[in-house]
Amino acid sequence: MTDLTDLSLLDAASALRAGRVSSLELTRACLERIAALDPALHAFLAVAQATAEAQAAAADRRLAEARRQGEETSPLLGIPIAVKDVLCVQGLPATAGSKILEGFRPPYSATAVTRLTDAGAVILGKTNTDEFAMGSSTENSAYGVTRNPWALDRVPGGSSGGSAAAVAARLCFAALGTDTGGSVRQPASFCGVTGLKPTYGRVSRYGLIAYGSSLDSVGALARSAADAAAVFAAMAGHDPLDSTSLPEPAPEIDGEPSLDGLRIGVPAEYFIEGLQPQVERAVRAAVEVLRALGASVGEVHLPHTDLALPVYYVIALAEASANLARYDGVRFGPRRPTQGGPSRGVSPLLDQYLSTRGELFGPEVKRRIMLGTYALSAGYYDAYYGQAQRVRTLIRRDFARAFTEVDVIACPVAPTTAFPIGVHGDDPLSMYLEDVFTLPANLAGVPGLALPVGFDDGGLPIGMQLNGPALSEPLLLRVGHAYQQATDWHRRAPTVTA
């Protein structure tokens, strides 16, 4: 085997179990590739070489013991993965892409991370993200943009852009991301990898640095639906440390390739002005592949789709303004000195809050905190936040009604392929429109799977999204796997040169 990093996660797991390769070899192959290519990509904010090698050595001992005893092992045992920098890993930095958490080392790990490391996964490091996961391009990271492995002048999407770029460039076998309005699915689409946003509550949020708590979910980015299924199955299931964690245990996922009897709906409201024609063609062609595999295809309606964006921005930003109140320079992160001098009604402590938050939050985070604060402020609460919650109910009902007619909804992940770095400039609203097809699933709490289904004329990947009812991840992953057995888009890899 000349290039170990080209193996899929499941093939690497088979090689590990058979003793054809060691976890230390896989881990060092990833670390070498990170050292060679990440200066050009900037997917990682921190690389944990020493702890990764120690975890790999421990995994090799567990693998040897399991072989001696003839025991089954988790497919994650000995597999090097990366973790988005909004999830806490004990002992490693957690910046959330923000200067306000520079130097923070969390004293505990997120449940999703603990479940994977307990299964034997090796943590290579922390990946870049828009600051506090607020963005669609990683351009809002305080530590610099990540570059798309398919075209270095393009964004990788966001906010889990570092994880998507790392998986696409074969710097790791899979990566954790988080998805509040599309932040796993959209970068997966832009980087040509598979991304799963689970049902709300399916994967614990404990140890996730919160953005919009009623919308946040922890997901997986991988090179195939089968690989993503392995990561998802290892981290899903009830966690008493998250009060919104669903009681159901982690699911079994089967690989039945026939889609006979499956009903697929294509939502008319998603094929709108602004959708690039090449994206539409690739998605419709992918739906035809599913039809050829036995599915029936029809049109379905989600009539409140055009309201998802304003609902999302009111709710997510209101929740963000409350969640980000904790960054005050008292318990963690750096603090900025008071400006000194007497000021009417400003105590030295308040002065320090104003300096620390004003100087260390980036422009997009401040914009979102301001909007959320306004939407929750006296006199505006019901007009904005209350109304957004009621319209959210209408969006949930759209999905509930659609899922009485079809099993799965198929649509584009994003209206465009990866856009050039800097193209949205200082126009926040035009950037928000990148997320129109992914936000509704977060508002409804349903799962979504992004799959690579082709390329545009510029060689940039195109993604299709599958949505299903709550807890339908096994179905979505089965459909994704069947599609990937019939096609090879997910096997294409970018050529990255340092």
Partner: protein, 96 residues
């Protein structure tokens, strides 16, 4: 609905953010245009629609309210910019 500069200063104060004068002007314009977009929500008749606070797929169990060992004090204080005698250290809370 356009925001005024005074409203932006008031929101920034509520949110504990010190803004530069340039930011105050820029945010006044940007926040106004985003709120203008959000105002389309007001046209929807929701008089008979209950709110969705979060999208749980079913009943959520509660864990027993039993005490558990907390994080060790020193590991929590290790991230604080300033601490003394096992406590977080902050500037005076009252005007001096």
């Amino acid at each position: 609905m356009p925001l005024t500069l005074d409203e932006v200063r008031h929101i920034a104060r509520l949110a504990r953010l010190r803004l530069t004068p340039e930011d105050e002007l820029r945010y006044t314009e940007q926040l106004s245009s985003i709120l203008d977009y959000a105002d389309r929500l007001k046209r929807v008749d929701t008089s008979d629609v209950p709110p969705t606070a979060f999208a749980a797929a079913g009943e959520l169990p509660l864990r027993p309210d039993a005490p558990r060992p907390p994080l060790p004090r020193e590991s929590v204080l290790a991230n604080a910019p300033a601490s003394r005698d096992g406590l977080f250290l902050v500037p005076p809370v009252l005007d001096t």
